[in-house]
Symmetry: C2
Subunit: 276 residues, 2 copies
């Protein structure tokens, strides 16, 4: 399979992996965000991923992938996943699918890539935190309106990610060479059994390891820390995780950023030959 195909398959395996407490999975929908929206998002992201594979800039590939993903009525399904997958696909094709390879992709991003990232927010509503107080012009919700500010300040996409890295674990992946992605990929490879069970255990590990950014955005940091503590109690017990899944859905706790990193880890595991 090509990098694009593996990236699309990673998106599909991520959403199918079950139980992934609080998220849409093979056995659960949320109120207006259903399994089929993620299937459509995975297919629709193909064009943007192929752009990344064929050498297009990160920003253009990402915006195209998000536009393609958004051709369904559920809203934001895989914005964060694609933010991680696009540089990984580029690293895979241009240098090496490794922390160093993806760091070099990140370092080579430009102001135009930052503009593409901002424009991507115009295709879909993404739940995000308020911008830092000293940077209201750079609120991602401004979309293309923020581009003149990016240009006047000369901010690359790497700079934008740097500025969110203290409160967004996806941005931290970008800044730090994707440590959670690569570590979790190795866990998935070392694990046993069907890939969808491995995906569920990877999700639980990631959630136990770090508070989820989306949960923190929607419910505050204390709730996010508690959610991770509850995932840590569950460990790899998938029956207990089934119960936690019911509870999290009832409480509206949706660890979406953890799911993003599950998808990026699945991508690396697929590229490294996890059996399926």
């Amino acid at each position: 399979m090509t990098p694009t195909e593996h990236a699309q398959l990673a998106l599909l395996l991520e959403v199918a992996g079950t139980p992934k407490p609080g998220n849409v999975d093979r056995h659960r929908d949320l109120a207006d965000l259903r399994f089929e929206h993620f299937l459509a998002g995975s297919v629709g992201a193909g064009e943007g991923l192929r752009l990344a594979e064929s050498g297009a800039p990160v920003g253009e590939a990402f915006e195209t992938a998000v536009a393609g993903m958004s051709q369904q009525e559920g809203g934001n399904t895989q914005f964060g996943c694609l933010l991680l997958l696009v540089p990984l696909v580029k690293a895979d094709c241009e240098t090496d699918l490794s922390p160093a390879g993806v760091e070099s992709v990140v370092e080579s991003t430009t102001v135009a890539d930052a503009a593409g990232f901002y424009r991507a927010f115009e295709h879909v509503d993404v739940a995000v935190d308020d911008p830092p107080e000293n940077a209201p012009d750079l609120d991602v919700r401004r979309g293309a309106d923020a581009v003149p500010t990016l240009e006047s300040r000369g901010l690359t996409l790497a700079d934008v990610m740097e500025s969110s890295a203290d409160r967004d674990t996806n941005a931290r992946e970008w800044v730090d060479g994707f440590p959670r992605t690569f570590e979790t990929a190795e866990s998935i490879l070392a694990d046993e059994g069907p890939i969808l069970d491995r995906a569920a255990r990877a999700f639980l590990d990631l959630l136990a390891d770090e508070p989820d950014t989306l949960v923190a955005t929607q419910h505050g940091e204390e709730v996010a820390r508690e959610a991770s503590a509850r995932a840590a109690e569950v460990g790899h017990d998938l029956d207990a995780a089934e119960e936690l899944a019911e509870t999290f859905v009832a409480e509206g706790i949706n660890p979406g950023t953890t799911a993003d990193q599950t998808a990026s880890a699945l991508y690396v595991a697929l590229r490294r030959g996890v059996p399926l």
Copy 2:
């Protein structure tokens, strides 16, 4: 979305549709054939579908799609679906997605297309019936070895389908202008509610309407007729269908050909704008 993307999405919605008694669906796996194998098959089929979209001959596109689909350890996931989808995609791109459009694709098939169809059997084990007594040389299980016979007799892929149309409902679709596909697409469009429920009801209608070819191949025609009668009793009652799903899996009744036609109907419904 492009025809290829809609075809891949149709494959994904088909396998996710639940309950589809006797088949892998969102909530059920079979012993060695699991949900994730279908996800991988849907992604892997992309290259062949894109060939069909860009004007390649049916046989080449189909063989490529089947080879791509087979990059997973579950075995045959979507051979029959692709046999229906490839000419539909071609009709969509070259003439018109209608019975007349796909009939013209079928009529224009060549001996080379028939050879591609036979070669496709080399990529994956497909459960098929014995060939007619007067045509042992044309047993599809011979794969490429049957090509000299196809050539010496000048048999096109339309001819090959014609010869199986009395005992294979997919071949009958080919011969008759895809009547079940187009009728079921209209039912899906006229139906209400989430697409995965519509897919399940479409499957139940198709199964009630005609005995399944794969069930007849594996268990005999009497069992296939009974399975359809049991689906007819269920009607559109998805709770009753859940029970029937448990029973069919326990009895090893796997209406795979009905699933193929569910996928082709979903493709037409997607192209005609079913909401998702």
